[in-house]
């Protein structure tokens, strides 16, 4: 068997993906893009769990990945319903359009 991939490289990949998702959340103002970048960040967190679980040969990493998956499904459904409400009220998808609170 050839030499295996060190765990550090997998964690570095997860960190890079998470940072790109964070940059996307901070830079983009379209709500759809903000949700997409949240997906990228959650996916990177799941990748870090799976890499660590694979390093020690334990199933806990994949269990945490499944939990992250369930949480992502709930978050996306509520987030997209909020996007529909935002578009219904403000006729735009700009996140800054809804930056003012009432009262």
């Amino acid at each position: 068997m050839t030499t295996s991939v060190p765990m550090t490289h997998g964690l570095i990949l997860a960190g890079v993906l998470f940072a790109m998702g964070l940059v996307g959340v901070l830079v983009r103002r379209n709500v759809i893009f903000i949700l997409l970048c949240l997906e990228i960040m959650l996916n990177a967190a799941g990748l870090a769990f799976v890499v660590a679980g694979s390093r020690w040969g334990q199933a806990d990493g994949q269990v945490m990945f499944i939990f992250i998956l369930a949480m992502t499904a709930a978050e996306v459904s509520v987030g997209l319903a909020l996007v529909l409400q935002l578009h219904h009220h403000f006729k735009t998808l700009d996140a800054d359009a809804a930056s003012r609170m009432r009262g």
Binding site: P6, L13, L17, N30, G61, A70, T72, V78, H89
Partner: protein
């Protein structure tokens, strides 16, 4: 087998970079699907086949379909056909298709050689082991996840219903 991991990692990073720089949501979705497929291949290479399958079925399948539904719902009208034609004109899909082709070739190479690399030489974690762990020590987490999914279902139904008079949908009057 290290080369396969690094190639898939490069594809994932490139596709993610294209996601956060696209101006059009549909183009970003195409690149994000490629990125998720690359991460699924990385899971397979890391010896986590169940995570790879779930990544493809749930992330690249179900959640991305939700995004496509919402994007299509926000663009109802007579100009939709012309807009879709502009979205998917030839040349747009060549980038994601090229990255996806790299992943397909890599997957075929991994299957033909039959040598899945694992970090630090550990054995792959089989789905049976994951299931035993999930419904053993983590049973409480499973119950909490079901609570969360039920709350998400109710919340999405409450927020997504069409309110009359365009009034306070989802807000306490």
């Amino acid at each position: 087998m290290n080369a396969a991991f690094y190639l898939a990692a490069a594809v994932a990073v490139i596709a993610t970079g294209m996601v956060i720089t696209r101006l059009n949501a549909v183009h970003a979705l195409l690149y994000l699907i490629v990125s998720l497929l690359a991460v699924a291949l990385i899971f397979l290479l890391l010896g986590a086949p169940l995570a790879a399958a779930l990544e493809m079925i749930l992330y690249a399948g179900a959640i991305m379909v939700l995004f496509v539904f919402v994007i299509m719902m926000l663009n109802l009208g007579p100009q939709t056909v012309a807009q879709e034609r502009a979205w998917l004109r030839p040349g747009i899909w060549t980038g994601p298709a090229a990255l996806g082709l790299v992943l397909v070739v890599e997957l075929l190479y991994v299957f033909v050689t039959g040598d899945l690399g694992h970090p630090a030489g550990q054995a792959p974690v089989a789905p049976k082991q994951v299931g035993i762990t999930l419904f053993g020590p983590y049973l409480l987490g499973v119950e909490l996840a079901s609570f969360l999914l039920l709350a998400g279902l109710v919340g999405a139904y409450h927020l997504g219903r069409r309110t009359h008079r365009g009034g306070s949908g989802g807000q306490v009057p």
